[in-house]
């Protein structure tokens, strides 16, 4: 039987790690010689504990007798059910937690290794990072709309500290923009939730869903849906609510951008997936597929076209994130099994690829390579970092043998299967535009003579997390089954939504 502690163990470990990181770093500063190695060791202990916890949880979950596809558990007893936080374990949340642990560990380690000056490493930064991660884990395991909202807001609001870390005027401006958008988004969600609560009298996923199915007057429901979806659309940076994202990701330090794009951004897709497919299931509850499909098309077109005209590479990667939102939405709006598979695979791969891109671009930025012209010839002067960046760029384009190829194939197939062939055509066209600007960049990296000589040597340590991600993209490109194995149970559970 799954205990509430089995579930709470994962966020708790991360929160404890986050809090304890502050004294640990203070102590480690007294041993400056092996400071970095010890700090990474400390984080790895935490992630190892998380892995044990999720292994335990998934073992217990998949061995449940009798088999329960969606395992709900409440903190409080039966009498306070309405006010109790509840948690949900299913194949989807297990998968999400697993990929968050993988990407999170790599992003945190990169955060340690990319700091050139040991004195710059502040304990608060890592503490916030871990707590944001804990929030994401909690959101992945949440079993009712309020719990989901609380945990998700922890990570969304906590992200602003990661963006603000360097405290440059521009980053303060970008963070302010982000915060304003997030506050508007959360108030939308809050308002929508209160309507749902007043209709359903509960916020538990399945009970809400059951009430909504039999609820005949859909007008009020549509209003509520509009607010909730709009709120999450702002936080997931769906076009036309994407304006905060390029600023925020560009001005944030590289390790924050990698962390945000690899985790928080993917977390927002999870929330969309959970709310749109599992609760507001089309045809039985609300028929939103066409609406979301239009937003998907907009995101792909706007994201890719803006990236096409962008000369600042970090901003360009941020616009790729916007375009990725579109591809994820295509998969979601197809409402098919392939679509769910595509979405889950895409955001794992997309998360790794964007994180990898921000990591490498961050290293290049610290050498003064920022705009398209600076990228001329870096394939020769900064070979390894450029290779890492090329891996992620080729994965975005969807060229085999990189994992992005399977992700895109699944997305387009799901669109065709979901009777949205027009969306598949738009997606493919956008994908060609993407290939064009990405290959323009690769072309400059390898095809143009270098405009300047760099004295900065590549940091070998920081290349470790970069190449772990790069190789992961290639391995998943050859053997996507490694990830699809974990996704398959999710797809099998889909028809069993209570």
């Amino acid at each position: 039987m799954i205990d509430i502690l089995d579930i709470l163990a994962i966020p708790t470990i991360l929160i404890l790690m986050g809090v304890l990181t502050i004294p640990v770093i203070k102590i480690l500063h007294t041993k400056p010689r092996y400071f970095r190695e010890l700090l990474i060791g400390w984080f790895l202990i935490g992630f190892a504990l998380c892995i044990i916890a999720i292994a335990n949880l998934s073992f217990k979950y998949f061995n449940l007798e009798p088999i329960v596809p969606f395992f709900n558990i409440n903190i409080a007893g039966i009498e306070f059910l309405v006010f109790s936080s509840s948690f949900l374990v299913d194949a989807l949340s297990v998968y999400i937690v697993v990929i968050f642990i993988i990407i999170g560990a790599i992003a945190v380690i990169y955060g340690v290794l990319s700091e050139k000056d040991k004195g710059q490493i502040t304990e608060r930064y890592y503490a916030v990072m871990l707590i944001v991660l804990a929030g994401l884990m909690g959101a992945a395991l949440a079993g009712d709309l309020l719990t989901l909202f609380i945990f998700w807001e922890v990570s969304a609001a906590g992200s602003s500290f990661l963006m603000l870390y360097r405290k440059t005027p521009r980053s303060i401006h970008a963070t302010l923009k982000y915060l304003v958008m997030i506050v508007i988004g959360s108030s939308f969600i809050m308002y929508g939730l209160s309507i749902v609560f007043s209709i359903a009298g509960t916020l538990n996923f399945w009970e809400v869903r059951n009430v909504l199915i039999i609820f005949s007057d859909k007008t009020l429901l549509l209003v509520a849906f509009g607010f909730i979806a709009g709120g999450y659309a702002i936080e997931a940076a769906i076009v036309p609510f994407h304006l905060w994202l390029p600023d925020a990701y560009t001005e944030a330090p590289a390790s924050s951008s990698a962390f945000l794009s690899g985790l928080v951004d993917q977390g927002s897709y999870y929330v969309l997936l959970r709310v749109l497919i599992y609760i507001l299931t089309p045809t039985v509850v609300v028929n939103w597929t066409t609406t979301i499909a239009v937003f998907a098309a907009l995101s792909m077109i706007v994201g890719n076209l803006r990236a096409l005209t962008e000369v600042n590479i970090k901003r360009l990667v941020a616009y790729i994130c916007v375009a990725d939102v579109g591809y994820n939405l295509v998969a979601i709006s197809s409402m098919t099994h392939v679509g769910v598979m595509a979405n889950l695979f895409f955001f794992f791969v997309g998360g790794m690829a964007t994180a990898l891109a921000f990591m490498t671009v961050g290293l290049l930025n610290s050498m003064g390579i920022e705009t398209l012209d600076d990228f001329n010839g870096i394939g020769r002067s900064v070979p390894w970092t450029s290779l890492g960046l090329s891996f992620s760029l080729l994965s975005f384009t969807g060229i085999p043998p990189f994992a992005g190829f399977f992700a895109k194939y699944l997305v387009f197939t799901s669109a065709i299967e979901g009777d949205l062939s027009w969306l598949a055509v738009i997606g493919v066209t956008a994908s060609v535009i993407q290939a064009a600007y990405i290959f323009r960049l690769v072309n400059r990296m390898y095809g143009r003579p270098s405009s300047q000589q760099f004295k900065v040597k590549e940091s070998r340590a920081a290349l470790i997390p970069i190449f772990i991600l790069g190789l992961a993209l290639i391995v998943l490109g050859f053997f996507p089954t490694l990830a699809l194995n974990l996704i398959q149970p999710v797809v099998q559970e889909l028809p069993m939504i209570p």
């Binding site: 392939v338 065709i416 194995n485």
Partner: protein
């Protein structure tokens, strides 16, 4: 009998990617040797499948299936039949010979280490295209060749090589995504990705979107095949690439495009539409585009002064022949003629690019008006070059003559039933005359005539060995085509 022959071939090329890099770093030439040995072993392994191809009980097909991505019904299934066998065999020969040829050709280029790794990756992709029966795996290999091609053209090409490579990459990638859409649609409609299962499943269906799928596939492949008007990437890519890459581009990669149309557009999708007026209209349109390419290519080639560009336009023209021959589907003689012309053209064009590559490198110019009398100072290379030029011009007993003859034969066969083909066949004859014109112009201008003051010589035994071997193959293919035609004739398209 070996049961993993095809997987082993691919695995060998995959292993050659790191090995040839390390070998080349250890000693110059070892990387090329690695690739040569791998390709030779590949030919041997491929030959072990012949008994299965001849075995009618097994559909004249040798198959292997491995675990890949069961979640989306994609298995790593490999197969060879007469067509796949012949094309992969010629591809392996070209890979083996170009890698040897690269040793002297790339001698004075620095930073050659990654070259052979990229060549191995390119070979892996090219072979994979011809021997897989899974559509997704096909696409995987299809796109896999883009990255090595881009870097080989860009790094070791001449002129604005990276710009050319960029153009090549984007245009062919844009074509490829149409193929991807087609594969996705096929999977959605039939629930399968295996070519043979899909063929059977589509045959039972109402037309509906199948016409769109057919068009998407065909346009996607036609871009790689450089059918006019999708040919704009080709002249630049051929003329700026290193000769070895041009040989593979002209000899194998365009073949891949034609193979895609034959195997997938016509073999898998079209049978469902053959009884439908749309299917016939489609074939007629294909014939017109073929004729357009054949005429356009040869007309430009006749007046082109740049040797490489002339060869490039000649490729466009010959691919026009192939497309026209494809439009005669499902005439059995036409299928044999198509595949045979692909083989012959591949070997001939490979030889042509390798000989002109050597000539151009030594003369330092690609202008036909400045080149003269090459044959008198480079007799062996000159002779081989003349053989390839005459073969391109369709002169017996060289390779392309026999396949062009078969194309006309089958065209007349079809024209008796469908009078539409009469005028295109006549126009194709005109293009054929033009081919002979530019071939003879090359022979007369470049090879014959008074020798240039420029002291050219042929000292590298390796270059001579490679071109002579390829010239011998071109002659053998011309006088003894039945080595391959008897295998090709065994292939049965389910129409």
């Amino acid at each position: 009998m070996m049961t993993m022959a095809l997987l082993l071939i691919l695995a060998l090329f995959a292993a050659a990617i790191p090995i040839s890099y390390l070998a080349e770093r250890a000693r110059t030439g070892l990387g090329a040797l690695t690739l040569f040995i791998v390709a030779t072993i590949g030919m041997f392994l491929l030959s072990t499948t012949i008994p299965e191809i001849l075995n009618a009980a097994n559909n004249n097909r040798y198959t292997e299936t491995y675990y890949w991505v069961p979640e989306i019904d994609a298995s790593f299934s490999l197969f060879v039949d007469g067509i796949s066998f012949s094309i992969s065999f010629i591809a392996l020969i070209l890979i083996a010979l170009t890698s040897l040829y690269s040793i002297p050709y790339m001698k004075d280029r620095d930073d050659i280490n990654p070259y052979y790794s990229l060549l191995a990756l390119l070979s892996l992709g090219l072979l994979g295209i011809f021997i897989t029966s899974n559509l997704l795996l096909f696409y995987f290999f299809w796109e896999l060749i883009l990255i090595p091609s881009y870097f080989i053209i860009g790094t070791w090409g001449g002129g604005d090589s990276y710009g050319v490579a960029f153009k090549f990459f984007i245009i062919t990638h844009a074509g490829a995504v149409l193929v991807l859409l087609g594969i996705g649609s096929v999977f959605v409609i039939t629930g399968s990705l295996d070519m043979f299962q899909v063929t059977a499943a589509l045959a039972t269906m109402q037309t509906g979107p199948i016409g769109w799928i057919l068009i998407a596939f065909t346009i996607g492949f036609a871009v790689k095949l450089a059918v006019v008007p999708a040919h704009i990437w080709l002249p630049d890519a051929y003329s700026e690439s290193p000769a070895t890459m041009s040989a593979l581009l002209g000899g194998v990669m365009t073949t891949a495009g034609a193979y895609g149309i034959l195997r997938i557009s016509l073999g898998v999708v079209l049978p469902a539409l053959l009884s439908n007026p749309f299917g016939v209209q489609f074939l007629h349109t294909l014939a017109l585009f073929g004729i357009l390419s054949a005429l356009f290519g040869s007309l430009v080639a006749v007046q082109e002064n740049d040797v490489n560009r002339m060869l490039a336009y000649s490729s466009i023209s010959h691919m026009g022949y192939v497309v026209f021959a494809l439009s005669l589907f499902p005439n059995p003689l036409a299928i044999i003629a198509t595949v045979l012309h692909l083989l012959n053209h591949g070997a001939t064009k490979g030889l042509f690019f390798l000989t002109t590559g050597d000539i151009v490198k030594k003369a330092g110019t690609r202008d036909m008006n400045e080149l003269s009398g090459v044959a008198s100072c480079m007799p062996v290379t000159g002779t081989c070059s003349a053989i390839s030029a005459l073969s391109i011009g369709g002169v017996p007993p060289f390779a392309c003559f026999i396949s062009e003859f078969l194309i006309f034969m089958s065209a007349f066969q079809v024209a008796i039933i469908d009078s539409f083909y009469l005028i295109p066949t006549f126009l194709l004859l005109a293009a054929n005359v033009l081919s002979l014109a530019y071939a003879l112009r090359y022979v007369g201008n470049v090879l014959l005539g008074p020798p240039d003051t420029n002291q050219m010589n042929e000292r590298s035994a390796l270059v001579l060995g490679v071109v002579v071997a390829l010239a011998v193959i071109v002659v053998i293919l011309g006088i003894w085509p039945s080595i391959f035609t008897q295998l090709i004739a065994l292939v049965n398209f389910q129409t």
